[in-house]
Amino acid sequence: MRHRLGRTLRTPVGLAAAVAVVFLVLVAVFGPMLLGARADAVDTDAINQNPGPGHLLGTDALGRDIAARVVVATRLSLELALGAAAIGVTGGVLLGVAPALVGRRLGRLLTAAVGILVAFPSLLFVLFLATIFGVGARGAMLAIGLALVPPMARLVQNLTASVAGSDYVAAARVLGVGRWRMMTRHLLPNVAEPCVLFAATATAGSLVAFAGLSFLGLGVQQPEYDWGRLLNEQLNRVYVNPLAALAPGAAVVVTGLMLALVGETLAQAGGRRAAGAVPKSGRASGTVTASRNIATDVDTLVEVRDLTVGFGVGRAAVRGVSFRIARGEAVGLVGESGSGKSLTALALADLLPVTATAAAGMMVVPKAGTETAVVFQDPMTSLNPALRVGRQLAEVAEVHRRATRRQAWRSAVERLAAVGIPTAERRARQRPHEYSGGMRQRAMIGMGLMGTPRLIIADEPTTALDVTVQRQVLDLLAQARRDSGAALLMISHDLGVVAQVCDRVLVMYAGVIVEELPVADLFTGARHPYTRALAHAVPTMSTDLEAELATIPGRPPQPGERIEGCPFAPRCASAEDRCRTEAPPTERRDDGEGSVACWFPVAARKEAIG
């Protein structure tokens, strides 16, 4: 955190925050020393003067210089705000961590109590406490400070509760780490950042609250004065000398903004939190710039040549991918995370994020929306939780087939029934949360079948599902393909899943297709060392129990990493010098059943030895 703070201070926001802090401290320290006498000097000859050369903002009812008073008031205003914030933050942290330290029952009681207290508006809280403590600066500080306790405590409670529920705290508990050590080593370090941010916000908030209370006459009392008090004194002269009323107000706003800036800087220095606040780049538009030419022959449904997808300059995630899919064919696209397989699929469905840049020498795909159906990985999040499932299917027909509402609804119910949803009539009227995971994925498939799909793109359709329903969803996909005659592109990391459904497999590694092969060869006849290793890295029901599993040392290159030669060379046991310098071309296999991009394909080497 410390070196990150240094880095943040060098950003424009950080620099501004640092300057702001220095400025506030200087004004608060030297203001009263330099201008104190002038601010208190009563001058009966110059009562209620308007701004002029002698008095920049005019004078008040006793002839005192208002500009000087605004500057001098900085110290008291800041002191009171910091004092109240200190009370609030200290109380809030103590009350917030208490439930984690005391017993379960008492902890629950504390949580409930804080939950009830936060429901009351904080100003009401302040007024209530101000009534009890009486009118005056000290009472107001206590009131504002105590009113900050419940929201702060709620924040700390929520944060500690989420950290306390994390696996690493569970692991520490199993290791016998004591309560105190748990608090100081695991809980507090992990909640500190948002608390610091909240403290900055709380200081700004109590500054404003103080200004409000003093303005109402409930805070600072004469002869002391803060900004709120000055505002209170000058408000009735707003028609005569508006500047005198606006100046203390402006001081409050500017100081509040400075404190917000400080909070912002601390949050940025916190790093992880700031990164979380940046919205993840949504999957909006982002179209492949390609000539959508006509396919080379009538049997070809999809033809892609030299597809590249990247983020920013030089960060290519898909680096020149070419393949074709025939009508009605089922093709699997396998690879590990970061291999570019999902981006390839998204490019095909024209669903790339707008931040991605994509280009292709040639790209022939059926029409998106009506002729291409897409099934995503997580059915829990892919259906809109606010809309009835039937509606989400029906709207496809309404938009693309111009069906009436009633017709569309009827065909939605039919589709739901067709994908095996029992009592479809009733189920169509439910919202997704009433469906199980498997049923949601069925509904997603049904949604794709609302059009007349010629291509179904399924991106890890079973990964998020329970093992026992995986099979059913795969069977349903196969059935949908049979019934509609559509081709299928199945993206998966699981070779077994692909082997079960597909005719042909494309293997991707580091943004390129390293091998294309018929599914029958996937486990026994692969030529590329990567495909071979992948097929044996995970045990199957026929794995030799005495042998070690095949492993691939190292890790796959990150998207955008500079790659020279064969991308797999650093992890490949049979790599030679040539592999590290020269990228292997994709060559058709002798039997024409597939292709491989490797200088030393496995079968070829065997022949050479034998």
Binding site: S166, D167, Y168, V169, A170, A171, A172, R173, V174, L175, G176, V177, R185, H186, P189, N190, R272, E336, S337, D466, V467, T468, Q470, R471, L474, H493, D494, L495, G496, V497, A499, Q500, V519, A520, L522, F523, T524, A533, L534, H536, A537, V538, P539, T540, M541, S542, T543, L545, E548, L549, A550, T551, I552, P553, R555, P556
Partner: protein, 253 residues
């Protein structure tokens, strides 16, 4: 005497019974696999054994002694390796400190050496001691989590779906490591997984859970060759058929 003996264990959350009177044993130096679909209670069972889930009935014995009575002396005699290596290491701690936390009391320099030794044991470069988890890959993190669990010198190790969050190409390496360590050190292990093929590779015995109940258990090869319970058959059938093993498809029919 079993290394781990679970008797009639019941775990309830409110009205929901997550684990329902489950009994099983793990012999010293052996591996028992616990399989089931999601919601079968297999993870809750593992958490209950190490005291992370509320036990509302039954007993847990480690080497014949009640686990609760063993608790008072520092680390739990049963250690758990969690599913998600991205969540199971404190992001604010160096991995050296995380592993050292599991070690018994000893002087500083010796502690450091011990932590380094455990990292070395799981094939992680001991030079990584001072790194924080965010600089490590998923596979490396899972190795560190394994090192931390072993550093507490557990009588029994529980591995809860430890490869399901990892990339395919590193799963095999972690499984090889776990099998090697288990055979060399000879600790007893409860291996929780939904993947029967992985369980078959690692385990001597298999226990099948469904809706919190133990529905079948026995030696691994017997259970897989001749499954008695419907749940076991469904699980077997859900393994994607590979061209080399047509058995799975037949079981589904």
């Amino acid at each position: 005497m079993s290394a781990l003996q679970v008797d009639e264990l019941t775990v309830r959350y409110g009205r929901m019974t997550a684990v329902d009177r489950v009994s099983l044993q793990v012999a010293p130096g052996s591996v028992t696999g616990v399989v089931g679909g999601s919601g079968s209670g297999k993870s809750t069972l593992g958490r209950a054994v190490v005291g992370l889930a509320p036990v509302s009935g039954g007993r847990i014995l480690v080497d014949g002694a009640d686990a609760k009575s063993l608790r008072h002396r520092g680390a739990h005699p049963v250690q758990l390796v969690f599913q998600n290596p991205y969540a199971s290491l404190d992001p604010r701690m160096t991995i050296g400190a995380s592993v050292a936390e599991a070690l018994p009391r000893m002087p500083g320099p010796q502690r450091r050496d011990e932590a380094a030794r455990y990292l070395d044991l799981v094939d992680v470069d001991p030079a990584y001691l001072t790194r924080t988890p965010d600089t490590l890959s998923g596979g490396q993190r899972q190795r560190v989590a394994l090192a931390r669990a072993l550093a507490a010198r557990p009588r029994v190790l529980i591995a809860d779906e430890i490869t399901s969050a990892l990339d395919v190409s590193v799963q095999g390496a972690v499984l090889n490591l776990l099998r090697r360590l288990q055979r060399e050190a000879g600790f007893a292990m409860l291996f929780i997984s939904h993947d029967l093929a992985v369980v078959r590779y690692l385990c001597d015995r298999i226990a099948v859970l469904d809706e919190g109940r133990l529905v079948e258990s026995g030696p691994a090869d017997e259970v897989l060759r001749d499954p008695q319970h419907e749940t076991t058959r469904t699980l077997l059938a859900s393994i994607p058929a590979r061209p080399a093993v047509p058995g799975g498809q037949e079981a589904a029919a």
